[in-house]
């Protein structure tokens, strides 16, 4: 029998993933030895995220491809790794007080957030369909559990079950699509798929296109794009609020990164055939997301619909598929990170045990009672809508100009129109805060951690809005 050759293993490329996995398992073990107070686990988790993010600088000359072309470290993946580290850290900071208040005393909570981040880092660095599938599954399974972690709460259970059943179904689409693409091109590596398509070596065009459609459905579900968005409002509402914020940013960014790599890098040879489908999905996401948000009275559901519409804007960057598209995707995700965590931070601060104050009416008169909180909320909402000088405007500007560069004028006009619609419901919250009389007694839980998150978010939103230059340079 021949000796099996030793595989080439590049531990430096994998360092962020390895460090974070070790920290996650450490948190699991330490959980057994400490008492009811799990705050220390939160600190360790944040330390793990910081170390892991720093480890992503292991290589000097980028990009470095390793593991037989399955894994790549490039500027795109490093930027995303930082986005994940920041978003997971902010989610953990928001959780510390929230968990105490809601009685979530489960140490695995932090470990699952870390494992989910491991999945996200793998997802943004993978250039092989098998790795992308595994990454998506790690992220999804962690999220199913985190959504249902309040086991005694019916809404939380409903969210977890709905998310799990529909998510498992979507995974089926994804996997079947990957199998069909493998059948048509004979490889699972994105570079191989791309070169096979360009060289005309595809075995059957019909099977390739069928696979692309199934992948589009699978990815569309995971980023909550219309018409695969039905789960989002219920899951966002039922999940614990820090997890909702986490879910709206990190996993969505990770799946979009993989989406970008697969469609813009892998399938660019047959772009003419999927471009239209993706445009329809993007436009529908923007319209249904925004029009759905107008109807909502619950703030978490409103943000769920708003996140559907933001998925629509982000898909425009994938449709543009130029270098500006890739960097605009990164920049937009960073601005969206700060504003989303800011909004959810304020929602968490205003909630208290037994009453999370999630109805929009409960925000009436906030502007007079807690002017600073209301001002930050207003900044975040205006940034989400895309008003200068806040970060959201610059993000949208870059995404739209990437699409304009490639000549998608109609798409951009529709997107700008949608930004205008979105102001209606963002301003509605602001009107409640400043122009109506107080309806309920405010008893904000002013925890230092949540306030820190809001402060970071305000800084980020204004900084990226006024001086976007340095970060955009990094994203290129």
């Amino acid at each position: 029998m021949d000796m099996i050759p030793a595989p080439e293993i590049d531990l430096v490329s994998l360092a962020p993933v390895l460090v974070l996995s070790v920290f996650a398992m450490g948190v699991l073990i330490l959980d057994l030895f400490i008492g009811k107070n799990k705050t220390i686990l939160a600190y360790i988790s944040i330390a793990g995220l910081v170390v892991s993010a720093l480890c992503s600088f292991g290589h000097a000359d980028l990009p470095v491809s390793s593991f037989n072309g399955a894994y790549v470290v490039d500027n795109f993946s490093i930027f995303f790794t930082f986005i994940f580290a920041i978003s997971s850290s902010l989610a953990i900071l928001l959780s510390i007080n929230y968990n105490e208040q809601e009685g979530i005393k489960i140490g695995e909570y932090y470990a699952l957030i870390l494992f989910c981040t491991v999945g996200m880092i793998l997802l943004c660095s993978s250039t092989d369909m098998i790795m992308i599938f595994l990454g998506i599954e790690i992220v999804s399974i962690s999220l199913y559990i985190l959504a249902g972690i309040r086991r005694t709460d019916q809404r939380s259970n409903e969210a977890a079950l709905k998310y799990f059943l529909l998510g498992a179904f979507a995974t089926g689409f994804l996997l079947y699509g990957m199998a069909m693409i493998y059948g048509a091109t004979g490889t699972t590596k994105l570079a191989g798929i791309s070169s096979t398509i360009v060289a005309g070596g595809v075995k059957s065009q019909a099977i390739l296109l069928g696979g692309i459609v199934l992948l589009l459905i699978g990815f569309g579900f995971k980023v909550a794009a219309v018409p695969f968005h039905m789960w989002a409002p219920d899951v966002y509402q039922g999940a614990p609020t820090p997890i909702t914020a986490f879910m709206a940013v990190g996993p969505k960014a990770a799946v979009l990164a993989a989406f970008y790599r697969v469609f813009a890098d892998g399938f660019h040879g047959v772009a003419a055939s999927w471009e239209m489908a993706l445009m329809v999905v993007a436009v529908l996401s923007m319209f249904i997301g925004n029009l759905g948000a107008i109807m909502q009275t619950n703030i978490k559901r409103l943000l769920a619909y708003s996140s559907i519409s933001h998925a629509g804007y982000l898909l425009i960057a994938i449709i543009a598929r130029n270098s500006l598209g890739a960097s605009s995707l990164l920049f937009y995700m960073l601005t969206y990170l700060f504003t989303t965590f800011g909004v959810f931070g304020i929602v968490i601060i205003l909630g208290r045990k037994g009453n999370e104050n999630l109805e929009m009416e409960n925000y009436s008169g906030l502007g007079y009672k807690h002017p600073l909180l209301a001002l930050s909320m207003a900044i975040f909402l205006l940034s989400l809508g895309g008003l200068p000088p806040f970060a959201g405007f610059v993000g949208k500007f870059y995404v739209f100009s990437a699409a304009l560069q490639e000549g998608y004028v109609t798409l951009v006009v529709l997107a700008v129109l949608n930004s205008a619609i979105s102001f209606y419901y963002y301003l509605k919250v602001i009107v409640y805060m400043y122009m109506t009389d107080q309806k309920v007694e405010f008893q904000p839980t002013l925890s230092p951690y949540a306030l820190l998150v809001v402060a970071i978010a305000v800084l980020g939103t204004i900084q990226l809005g006024i001086f976007p230059g340095p970060v955009i340079a990094l994203a290129q």
């Binding site: 030793a6 595989p7 399955a70 595994l134 790690i138 399974i141 005694t152 099977i207």
Partner: protein, 169 residues
């Protein structure tokens, strides 16, 4: 020679698949499903994918079916299932729409299958699909997915424990 084995096995698996759907008792359905899984394993053997055939028997006919049986016995699904079926039985609109969907899919599939040109088949290596070959691939080219799968399984295990442990603290 291949067809001589393939046709009876394929026919049997289709019949058993129908058995899963039309059987009145959940146990009967589950037993049909086991039979169908074994037939599929037979198909894999004919394709000389021995490793896949063994996994099919071990995982599907073994582990997953045992799980199904446990669930059926623990939950005693019989009564619940009847009401679900009754509710769906008279929904004509749903039946017609699904019928159209299936017809459309079959039409498109036939169209694709008749038009598609798969070119001359690629010869496969002699040891293709054997356990040795799969093992070598798994530990060289696919070592990263192999290791990453362990994280996936760990997360799933933690999740099951977190959601199912009895003590609500």
């Amino acid at each position: 020679m291949e067809l001589f084995f393939f046709i009876p096995i394929a026919l049997l698996s289709v019949l058993l698949a129908f058995g899963v759907v039309f059987n009145k008792s959940p146990i009967g359905s589950a037993v049909s499903l086991i039979g169908m899984m074994l037939c599929l394993a037979g198909v894999f053997v004919i394709q000389s994918a021995h490793f896949l055939a063994i996994l099919q028997v071990l995982i599907y006919a073994g582990a997953i079916m045992v799980l199904f049986m446990f669930v059926i016995m623990l939950l005693n699904l019989k009564t619940a299932e009847d009401t679900v079926w009754k509710a769906r039985e008279h929904n004509t609109l749903l039946s017609v729409l699904t019928g159209f969907l299936v017809l459309g899919l079959v039409y498109k599939l036939v169209e694709i299958a008749t038009d598609a040109n798969f070119g001359p088949g690629m010869p496969v290596a002699e040891n293709f699909g054997t356990t040795e070959m799969v093992g070598a691939k798994l530990f060289t080219d696919y070592v990263l997915p192999f290791e990453v799968a362990s994280i996936l399984l760990l997360v799933a295990m933690i999740g099951a424990l977190v959601l199912a442990k009895t003590k609500t603290d």
